[in-house]
Symmetry: C2
Subunit: 271 residues, 2 copies
């Protein structure tokens, strides 16, 4: 059975996303950090890692983007996973004054929390906050996590679907050591940095444009080496082996300081 590494406690959204992505049964393996999860796949302890990269409400997961920069793994798949948050606790809504969860989950339920004047307390993991609550056993504390986490730790669901916006999806990337075969509807993810001169980004984008390559995403992140120099994370429609993409990637090389092809993989649909 395939082993898939995820960050978090049992019941984490990452674990559910992995189980949906691989239709056949898999063995999911929890790790405390994203770094540990990726390392397990690099070392062959696991076959795949699943990494959340972006949420439709909260934006990018910074730590994941940093790891993509340095990992030796190849991106071989993506999935958009619907996030439906539950308020989980031992008593009813009127006793609750404090709510524990991962900062992204707290952010996604900001309106719900502010309207009820709850005190938000950030924790390391959505499912992990249910585990903490199980130890604390306090009536005034609730947490925000998946229905599955509530079921695993056997703490009641007080209210389901408390996210401020129902269009709440997280995009996960699936990584492994092996490149995958080309499909008919691939996407290619790349990272590059450019010289800090006027028009440098435009020159790169122009080369994709003139090769009729559509960009599905562009994101700038600080390089960490020099303040306010950026790495650009770009997703292109097509496979890195397609002539127009291979040609464009060759043409942009002189414009870039750094260029990394993360991988080509079948693009996922919103379900």
């Amino acid at each position: 059975m395939l082993k898939v590494a995820f960050q978090g406690e049992r019941g984490a959204y990452s674990e559910s996303a992995a189980m949906t992505f691989f239709k056949d049964p898999i063995e999911t393996v929890p790790y405390p950090t994203f770094h540990d999860a990726l390392e397990s796949t690099e070392e062959g302890t696991t076959d795949y890692s699943i990494l959340p990269v972006e949420n439709s409400l909260e934006g990018s997961v910074g730590e994941s983007y940093d790891l993509l920069l340095t990992t030796k793994l190849i991106v071989t798949g993506e999935i958009y996973h619907r996030i439906r948050h539950c308020l989980i606790g031992f008593d009813g809504m009127d006793k609750i004054d404090t709510v524990y969860s991962h900062p992204q989950a707290l952010g996604q339920c900001r309106k719900f929390i502010q309207d009820r004047h709850l005190k938000p307390v950030p924790t390391y993991d959505t499912a992990g906050s249910v585990k903490i609550l199980l130890e604390l056993k306090k009536d005034n504390i609730a947490c925000i996590a998946s229905r599955r986490a509530a079921e695993i730790y056997k703490v009641p669901v007080i209210k389901e679907g408390i996210e401020d916006n129902a269009s709440n999806y997280t995009r996960f990337l699936v990584l492994s050591k092996e490149r995958r075969a080309k499909s008919q509807r691939d996407k290619t993810s790349i990272i590059f940095s450019i010289k800090h001169v006027p028009g440098a980004l435009f020159d790169v984008l122009e080369k994709f444009h003139s090769n009729k390559i559509n960009l599905t995403k562009i994101e700038s992140r600080p390089t960490k080496a020099t303040p306010w120099e950026y790495n650009f994370y770009v997703d292109l429609e097509g496979n890195q082996g397609d002539p127009n993409i291979a040609d464009a990637l060759e043409k942009i090389k002189p414009n870039t300081i750094f260029l990394k092809i993360l991988g080509s993989y079948p693009r996922a649909e919103l379900t």
Copy 2:
């Protein structure tokens, strides 16, 4: 004396940034959330708000970008503020096993924390974590905040400069109700969203390029209305009243669904 709203407790990096930005003495006013700080300026209780938008190591502050989308205030200034983190606690390094701080500060000291096998605990505020420690009075807990926070709450500094990378700057925007006079070295910040069609972003960037406008930043953030539709946050060199910028902003209108000019302001230098 000018009143300047900031988010956090006394001793927060935002407060120091405000004091550096306004050379003359100011009255700094703490607020629990970014939203409350901006509201105080919108209602006239304070004259200015200062908002962290981006860190050279951790990237964008998502909540600030969301507030820029909706605020009625105008961006009238920016400052790059050097962040120098201290480990603050009652005892020496060898007793410490847990460290409290804001998630961004924990992220900026990730290597320091991992190397010493400390347990990171996210809190709402760097300076606020020193206030918590003062109440807990525990020898095994330290927190990460500024030297100024240590001095205000009278908790010793164990180690200074524990950030993983010395190039640690946060960019803050200063907002007010009034537009400011044009300077010789202005920057203009805008937000726009575009139709989800191939080449749409390129068409917008092409109009800036052909009007000889240099982009200093581009950042995509989910719109929250439709999954994976993005707002683009773009900084341009020049003032919105400059003929080439005014003309380009007019020309891109047909390509955008939404276009907001946040303001023009003198660009800051890294100091």
